[in-house]
């Protein structure tokens, strides 16, 4: 009798050894059949149902992990029925999977910075690695770490214990530490591609794109209308928050990679858009939003009325705008905060904020509001300019309509309603309108725009209406936003510009990931360890000058703060078989959601960390412990949906009998087991 059999798998004729399973025979011939509970060292188990295949003549699907090959078999591993069964298996598992593939910090960051990774590197004292990690996404870590409104922290799970981890300042700390020693973490630059890219605008978007594209070997030129690079980081953010020396150093790093930077170059005046287009193989428009919005109020044209960002730019240029003794700033955002605190520093004696809602509704960051208050800014909530008063063409005051809060709008923000007949008059020497900003389309008329006048850019590729011209940042679509959003867009745009230059297309696919839904009561096990406060100069001292108000973390502070990270993102993401398949089969993780199985974290085994929320009960650890390690410590406990894997005899001191072989964690297909 022959020891081999002939069969067909996926239309491929195969000679397999008798006694081989379909899965093994396929594998030997380069055909991978998916599986989650199989390992060839162990006897087949059949729990996951992923290895099902279709066999001609068989009404049932066969489990390839156990079914042996036989002569003449015709197997289809990718038949519709098999794919459907696998998809439903994955949907069932994912609907009962309690784990975060990626930390919420990173997910909520528009640029998806790997916060968990660099925070860990900082905790380990490895600042160079941390900066390297950050620079995968952010080319200006010391600057952005100081100014970012940190959506990462907004999403940080640590707030369920007490407060979020101080992720942004940690970023600034790591970058400062490295720069302090005169070290520069620079990426490798590929060999010249003979292609060139022109970037209009040297702000966060333009500089980020330049940083990405230069690495790909393209010749990059940045054109900027201002005397120096940095855009809003330089001309919109006051010195006391971001010292320009820090920004200069980081821009110099980018320049050192070979990026050509041309300042004082206004489009339509010094050079035309057409010329730039002619000169380069691709163009990125990232000229920002530099025009202050009007509040459509009588008296806006009086002398002494300033636009918020115009005022900040003037201050940054050292122009000392004439705001007089008494000034007021209209608006509740971060620009308003920057403006009022700049006004304080310019010597104004009375600085007010005029805001039509209350503090709760203010879009500015809390810390900014607090610091402004500490510096003596007066907040006039529930007021709105009705008319800017003037005499001889100069501002003398403002008539304020008193407001009250009405019904919440669709976003839940209560809209302000005027209280009829109630007005206050405020005497003023100047008034600063910080009620938003707009882009300036001058010079870009050939590009298609949105209804609001911004440049229309594809939300995925950032391509504009002209082939080879891309646009990102404040100048596009929804208009002005935060720096990290502009960076995120520029990074993506750079990817598509690179692909455009190479003549390839990037297929559209959003990776499937698992996200946990959490509530405070899931975090009761953690010991409270409050967030470390950023040391600051005293308000009475700092309000007098533009020197940076934050003193920076000490190394001890930073490392301690970094250890507060809960490491929400899964250690196994990247190796996890489950998510690989979920992604491959385009699983809808939420389709079959319901009650979750019981789960717990248990460190009883001392050598491994067990997270039942991610356990898929494949039984590999149980079998590894029994068959390979010959220990037999683990077992299935409970029945049905609430089955868990636990030491079978729970009162035994597991540590004394566990051989520390870590086989269980090695074989785990998900991140349920982690070697400590």
């Amino acid at each position: 009798m022959s020891d081999t059999v002939k069969l067909i798998i996926d239309k491929k004729e195969i000679t397999a050894e008798k006694g081989d399973t379909i899965l093994l025979a396929a594998k030997k011939n380069g055909i991978e059949i998916p599986n989650l509970c199989y390992l060839k060292e162990m006897s087949p188990y059949g729990a996951c149902g992923m290895c099902v295949v279709e066999a001609e003549g068989s009404p049932k699907l066969l489990r390839a992990c156990s079914q042996k090959v036989s002569e003449g078999m015709v197997i289809n591993t990718m038949g519709e029925r098999a794919l459907k069964a696998r998809k439903i298996a994955l949907e069932l598992i994912m609907g009962d999977h309690k784990g975060d593939c990626i930390g919420p910090c990173s997910l909520n960051c528009p640029a998806h910075t790997d916060c968990q990774k660099y925070v860990k590197e900082i905790a380990d004292g490895d600042y160079k690695s941390a900066v390297k990690t950050i620079k995968e996404v952010i080319s200006l870590p010391a600057s952005i770490g100081r100014v970012c409104p940190h959506p990462c922290e907004t999403a940080c799970r640590r707030q369920h214990v007490e407060e979020p981890v101080s992720i942004a300042y940690l970023k600034a700390f790591a970058a400062d530490e490295v720069l302090k020693n005169g070290e520069h973490i620079l990426p490798e630059v590929k060999a010249p591609s003979e292609k060139s890219v022109g970037i209009i605008g040297g702000g966060p978007a333009g500089l980020s794109a330049a940083f990405r594209l230069i690495q790909q070997g393209h010749a990059v030129t940045v054109y900027d209308k201002m005397p120096k690079m940095g855009g809003m980081l330089r001309y919109g953010i006051p010195e006391y928050r971001l010292p320009k020396k820090v920004l200069d150093t980081e821009i110099a790093e980018i320049e050192s990679l070979g990026v050509k930077m041309i300042n004082n170059c206004t489009i339509g005046k010094d050079i035309t858009f057409e010329e730039i287009k002619e000169k380069h193989d691709a163009v990125l428009v990232a000229n920002g939003a530099w025009k202050s919005s009007s509040i459509r109020c009588e008296g806006e044209s009086l002398e002494g009325v300033f636009g918020g960002i115009d005022f900040l730019r003037a201050a940054a240029l050292g122009e000392k705008p004439a705001i007089g003794r008494k000034t007021a700033i209209v608006g509740g955002g971060n620009t308003a905060m920057d403006a009022c605190r700049t006004a304080v520093r310019l010597g104004a004696e009375e600085v007010s904020i005029i805001y039509r809602r209350t503090r709760d509704e203010m879009p500015a960051e809390d810390i900014e509001i607090e610091e402004a208050m500490e510096e003596g800014v007066i907040f006039r909530f529930l007021t709105n300019p009705a008319e800017i008063l003037g005499c001889d063409g100069r501002v003398t005051g403002v008539k304020l309509q008193v407001m009250t809060l009405g019904e919440p709008d669709e976003r839940g923000r209560r809209s302000p309603v005027p209280v009829e007949g109630e007005f206050i008059t405020l005497e003023l020497d100047s008034i600063i309108i910080a009620a938003g900003q707009k882009n300036d389309p001058a010079g870009f008329e050939m590009l298609e725009t949105t209804k609001r006048g911004t440049i229309l850019a594809d939300e995925r590729t950032f391509a504009t209406s002209i082939p080879g011209v891309f646009a990102a940042g404040d100048t596009t679509n929804d208009g002005a936003s935060i720096a990290i959003k502009a960076i995120a867009e520029a990074n993506e745009a750079a990817k598509f510009i690179d692909a455009y230059l190479d003549g390839i297309e990037i297929p559209h696919k959003k990776p499937v990931i698992s996200e946990r839904e959490v509530t405070d009561d899931m975090f009761t096990e953690y010991e409270k360890h409050p967030r470390i406060k950023m040391p600051q100069r005293a308000p009475e001292d700092r309000r007098n000058d533009f020197t940076e108000i934050n003193l920076g973390f000490t190394e001890e502070n930073a490392r301690e703060e970094a250890t507060r990270c809960l490491s929400c993102g899964c250690h196994d993401y990247g190796h996890c078989k489950l998510i690989k398949y979920a992604d491959e089969y385009c699983t809808d993780c939420k389709k079959l959601k319901g009650e979750y199985h019981k789960s717990f974290k248990e460190e009883k085994l001392e050598v491994i960390l067990r997270d039942q929320g991610k356990c898929i009960l494949c039984g590999l650890c149980v079998r590894a412990c029994e068959d390979i390690a010959k220990q037999g410590i683990l077992g299935l406990v409970g029945r049905g949906f609430d089955t868990v894997i636990k030491p079978e005899f729970r009162n035994i001191d597991i540590k004394s009998i566990c051989a520390d072989c870590k086989k269980c964690a090695d074989v785990c297909p998900t991140g349920a087991l982690k070697i400590l």
């Binding site: 439903i88 069932l92 009960l617 039984g619």
Partner: protein, 582 residues
Amino acid sequence: MRIVIGEGSCGIAAGAGKVHTALTEALRGTDASIGIAGCIGMCFLEPVVDIYDGKTLLKRLVKVSADDAGAIAKAVKNNDLSAVSYLEISEEDSVFLKKQTRIALRRCGLIDPESIDSYLEDGGYNALKKVLSGMSPEDVIEEIKTSGLAGRGGAGFPTWFKWNAARKSEGEEKYLICNADEGDPGAFMDRAVIESDPHALIEGMLIAAYAIGASKAFVYVRAEYPLAIIRLQKAINEATERGLLGDSILGTDFTCRLKIKAGAGAFVCGEETALIESLEGKRGMPRLKPPFPAEKGYENKPSNINNVETFANVSWIIENGGEAFSAMGTENSKGTKVFALTGKIKRGGLVEIPMGLTLREVIYDIGGGIRDNKEFKAVQLGGPSGGCIPKELLDTVIDYKALSATGAIMGSGGMVVMDEGTCMVNMARFFLDFTTKESCGKCVHCRIGTKRMFESLTRITEGNGKEGDIELLTELCEGIRSGALCGLGQTAPNPVLTTIKYFRNEYEAHIKEKKCPAGECAALRQFVIDPEKCKGCTLCSKKCPVGAISGSVKEAHIIDTSKCIKCGQCKEVCRFGAVEIR
């Protein structure tokens, strides 16, 4: 005269023990003897007392209570049984037994299950004697093949084929296992056989052991059957004493030992590979097939597993010949099948009928139709693994193929009859609740899938169903059916699929109109008082546990629906039929 009291678990539950005590007392000093029998299968008439003269049945008394003992004793003493005619089974109810053809149950309720002599007197062990005195194992297998006997546990796999596979499987040591882990809600065929005729099981198993070449056998009985275990153990002891079990049976070199293993209450252990794991002392979880038990079963040795009813047919087949058995039934389903007829039926109990009868004949002719003059709605066959069959298909014949074609299965014999008051969505939910709890947790499809089906059905019955739920349920059902590891998971969707198939309108009413057409789903019921009919007797408001009913004496009452917990007590207590469900 000989007085025989039916003392199966059901008889005892109905008071047979008390009747026994009272009769013993009342008949003291007479020459009448008192004995016991197992279950005759007429659950609706328990306790049953038979009065014999020798072997002749003089009278069958039904629904006997201890209070009747005096009258019975008097009648016996006076030799005038007409005095207890008021207790005698009616002509109408006698139909229940007359229309049956009993093979597996042929001695149930007639012989004393606790006496081997009683079995021997009735020709017991003759088949074993016949086998051991001249038939080869191959002859036995051939005879079973001729009979067409198929596994009565539910799958209906040809018995001879399994025996033959085990016989041919290589290995010195082989095992025979009886699956008596009867777990379907509403099924009690196997229990009745073991409690009423344990030797029939032993004899059938011995013949099978001889056929496959096994010298060790197990009966895996669920621990919830204590009486069955006691009687079976007694039978094993007696058979061993008489040389019918153990070493050198009937003086031949055939040796077979039989042990009872009490299961710990997991439904999945009715699945053969899970049963084997449990028998080995492990957690009851199914194994992957292949290898099949015939190749690698108990302790990885060739093993054969059959159900109680299957074994109970064997001695009859040997004695009467396979052809006599295959003469009954249909082309692809031979012999008889025992059903446990329950639910909203007039005459419920154990029914053994030849294959080929229609469901209508069983439900109406034997079972007497629906109780309380209500409308028949559906019948559930095969318990949680089976499906429901609607009114339009009542003329389906009982046959493996014909039943499968409806979406239901023959199953092990559970036959639950439902009337118009049963909500089919809730019925499916009931079975999914069961399978969810009984899933062993090993495979993804069953562990999580049944839970998700149950959650979805719960949402629907609670009025939280949404558009697309039926489609999602169907998709889930199909996925679980093709992906689950063992029979439990693979068949768990059946109640859902068949109810969707035949009663989709009920699902739609729950989802779209938030109504339960059968009025069973509490969350969708609204109790209202018809002011025309209400006399203001105040009874309902007194009874209401949450004070939701208000109204003055002699005035129409009102139910505050926001307070009402829909317990239905007001409706029960109302003498004027004024409380309505909307």
